[in-house]
């Protein structure tokens, strides 16, 4: 093979994948250098969606920043909302009523399911099977209906508030959620039957872009991507916040069931299994939720004390960290958003060396990146 390559002059191709490409999940641009179908180097170029959220954060008040967190990871707005609220509450030492915490956990887990559904659906669509994508969207639609009931929006929820949530759950919300869970739970095995264990699908993913546990930690992978590499680390368990300590769930890790540990298939399966765990958490939370107020007393002109705080929450895409510096005024002094997808893109160039063009799509899909979060 090598001898022939020397005999025939060949040329590397420089291909621009994106910013407009069907499977880069947004406006990611990957500069591919390929030798035929084999990728020599894939360098991600991010920033096409930069909206200067951190700069905006220095200009608006703490409460006003909430709608902008919707736009951080728009597939998991509730989680981002809650992460922001938890950060500010940690900074200011606000005690949140327990009911509000339970509501937050419920909406976060619902949002985790809906986010993983999109991850699952768009991943299969990237792999060429379009049908599971529409099934996933169909399920997500029901979650959106639930969210519309509680906050009135279907994508950018802006539901959580500093000190609680904006409104109590509407009538019959918990029953409706239970109905959804009963409907949704049998769908997961169906997905597995339909696509997860499909021979072609497995072949496309197994042993592709395997990341070892140590590598994953060093490169700062978090969330399902880290757990896919076999590292059992979940912030909900390891650094419990909110009412997660009271809830029982398993941390899903990649086992290398169809290939090596940490390959695309493991990352994919972790997400599928996490949906199941979220259902479990939701059932417990619904059973345990107490009554009471949903909002703590927070002054309208809210001025937290001077200080610096770093809070991280387990979001569907990994650890969303918020480094917040307060100078005692109504506006944050500095706001750093540590977006999981952004850090994940760091390892992209490394793992895609020597893969094929089609695998690039698989890697992007298995990382479940989302561009507004990368570019902020």
């Amino acid at each position: 093979m090598k001898a022939r390559a020397e005999a025939l002059p060949t040329q590397e191709m420089l291909i621009n994948m994106g910013p407009q490409h069907p499977s880069t999940h947004g406006v990611l641009r990957v500069i591919l250098r390929t030798d035929g179908e084999v990728v020599v180097n894939a360098r991600p170029d991010v920033g096409y969606l930069h909206r200067a959220l951190e700069k905006i954060g220095e200009r608006v008040t703490y409460a006003q920043f909430m709608p902008f967190t919707d736009r951080l990871d728009y597939l998991a707005s509730m989680n981002c909302n809650a992460a922001w609220a938890w950060t500010v509450e940690k900074l200011a030492g606000i005690e949140v009523p327990e009911r509000a915490e339970y509501i937050r956990v419920i909406v976060c887990e619902l949002n985790r399911i809906s986010s993983h559904l999109i991850a699952f659906g768009s991943f299969t669509a990237d792999m060429g099977a379009f049908t599971p994508f529409l099934y996933a969207i169909r399920e997500r639609e029901r979650i959106n209906d639930l969210f519309e009931d509680i906050c009135g929006n279907r994508l950018t929820y802006n539901y959580v508030r500093i000190g609680g949530v904006s409104a109590d759950l509407p009538d019959r919300f918990l029953e409706k959620t239970k109905e959804f869970l009963d409907y949704f739970e049998p769908k997961i095995p169906e997905y597995n039957k339909l696509i997860s264990y499909n021979k072609i699908f497995v072949h496309r993913l197994a042993n592709v872009a395997a990341i070892s546990g140590g590598e994953a930690v060093a490169y700062g992978l978090t969330g399902p991507n880290l757990r896919g590499s076999g590292v059992s680390f979940d912030l909900r368990r390891s650094e419990p916040y909110s009412v997660y300590p009271k809830l029982d769930f398993d941390v899903c890790v990649g086992t290398g069931e169809r290939g090596t540990v940490g390959d695309c298939f493991d990352r994919y399966m972790v997400r599928i299994n996490e949906m199941r765990e979220s259902v479990k958490i939701l059932r417990q939370a619904i059973a345990q939720i107490p009554g009471g107020p949903v909002m703590a007393k927070v002054p309208r002109a809210f001025k937290p004390p001077v200080g610096e705080v770093y809070f991280r929450a387990e979001n569907p895409r990994g650890e969303t960290g918020i480094y917040l510096i307060s100078d005692g005024t109504v506006n944050p002094y500095r706001l750093k958003l540590r977006a999981p997808s952004f850090v994940t893109m760091n390892i992209f160039e490394k793992v895609t060396k020597g893969l094929m063009i089609a695998d690039i799509v698989a890697v992007i899909g298995s990382f479940d990146i989302i561009l507004p979060e990368i570019d902020r």
């Binding site: 700069k55 200080g307 610096e308």
Partner: protein, 156 residues
């Protein structure tokens, strides 16, 4: 390990290079170090069996008006403790050694700090602008940043 103990250990090892411990109002607490020694201290924090900070959670540039700072949030998956490391930099020509050889995760975040604050990380694998266009003038997250009126002749 408690922040205090970590601080003592690092102080004992590096002496003058470790300036202070910021504890009150800081969660997690920060070990303030001198910028030149960041790489060595990082290596120590990563490799020392009592520290084992194997994961760099977050690297952020900060503009404190009178000076810049780079804040590192470290976490150890193995031991489960956390610490912040901070290095203050002068406003003029801020620069400190890159740690992407210590934690590869640092690369993109250093590029981001470079992009938005103009902090230079010598020794970095690949220090280019990341979020803004390559030809952007100025560092937008600096507090004294002036909004440009034109970009490539287009009014912004």
């Amino acid at each position: 390990m408690e922040p205090k103990a970590i601080f003592e250990a690092v102080k004992g090892k590096f002496g003058e290079a470790v300036v202070e411990l910021q504890e009150e109002g800081f969660r997690p607490a920060f070990v303030v170090v001198s910028p030149e020694s960041v790489r060595e201290i990082s290596l120590f924090l990563r490799d020392d069996p009592a520290m084992k900070f194997d994961s760099l959670m977050c690297l952020s540039g900060v503009d404190y008006k009178d000076r810049f700072a780079v804040a590192y949030h470290l976490h150890s998956l193995e031991i489960g403790h956390r610490i912040g490391v901070k290095a203050y930099l002068p406003r003029e020509a801020p620069s400190l050694p890159s740690v992407d050889g210590v934690w590869p995760a640092a690369n993109f975040q250093e590029r981001e700090a470079f992009d938005l604050y103009g902090i230079v990380f010598p020794g970095s694998k690949d220090l280019r602008r990341i979020l803004l266009p390559e030809d952007w003038v100025g560092y937008p997250l600096r507090k004294d940043y002036k909004y440009p009126e034109f970009y490539h002749g287009i009014k912004v």
